[in-house]
Subunit: 183 residues, 2 copies
Amino acid sequence: MVAESGPRRRTGGRSAVVLTSIRKAVEELITEGGSEAITIPMVAERAGVNHSSIYRRWGDARTMINDLATYRLDPERGLPDTGDLRADLTAWAQELIGHYSIPVNAALLRGGAAAAGERESDCLRDRRAEAAGFAARSGSTFSGDDVIDRVVAPIIYRAVFLPWTLTEADVHTYVDELCDRSA
Amino acid sequence: MVAESGPRRRTGGRSAVVLTSIRKAVEELITEGGSEAITIPMVAERAGVNHSSIYRRWGDARTMINDLATYRLDPERGLPDTGDLRADLTAWAQELIGHYSIPVNAALLRGGAAAAGERESDCLRDRRAEAAGFAARSGSTFSGDDVIDRVVAPIIYRAVFLPWTLTEADVHTYVDELCDRSA
DNA sequence: ACTGTAACGCACAGTACTTGGCATTAAGTC
DNA sequence: GACTTAATGCCAAGTACTGTGCGTTACAGT
């Protein structure tokens, strides 16, 4: 998934089918037993794919899961942009909550968390870029870090550690406190 | 580590030495390669302990790591309580930052995150109990959930996903916004 | 000290994962 | 449609992890 130079990649046809099968299998398995219970032979068997194909593509389960987690929310999907910053932020935050309310996405997030802390291993980098985009629209009312601290962090914290409370996250209060800061 | 009824446990002497050795080995290994790269034979070899002792005590690596992560910050250590709630909260938050600034603690936290989402598998439950204690002292100014959302979540988010920015977390602002809410 | 037994070390068997060579299939290009 | 070769499937060997039975050690309580 990372852009590479070199020989022409084959992204369609059979390769695409294999990738789709693998993704489906990983998501099923991760929902059932979490990210740490996944092995490559398990994925291969459920996907109906030979295990050597997976080893060659990713090398190990950790790399595979992190890769699949990173691209689970399409970075090209487009962000809310009605001109009303507060409404757009709220809609965006609610999209995040909806996304991580689905068990498979929360489980993938936990897998990404386990692999985090290293450079180039961050399944939330696209989310931070989106936060920075909103901050830019705010002038200097708040920064990208402020969006992370006050809106993204509470949502992600709940998604990882307290998934059953995720829908109770009070998005409106988060956004209001962010937009109405006296600082 | 979990309190159990039944036959009298042996917590001292050789058992304590074994546990200490295992803890040290796990912390070294997790610092070196993250929580997912750990296997029980690796821990056993480095700790100079037979692997069967580890299998019998925890069963699998995931359970072991989550258990060690849960009790890394002693729940009995005592909390700041000078009478100045704002100062106490600030000191507590700074203690958390100091704790997770140490790479091994952050790595253990990631290991705990990977195992989270299941009941009885939550390495931050003691932190939430502490947050609830502060909330109780505040009367009804803020709740335990508020402390989590506004103070704990930003710190934990950074510790897991952006450890190199953890020390930039603005504890004073977090606490001020929590204590000065107009709501 | 003496006793009961929890916890440990050792050894072995069973299972599962990992890796590479080789043949086959089919995506991308002209 | 023909060609190049990326990607996959198959297989087999090597390696590592998992789990248990049994004897030994030594903690905890008397």
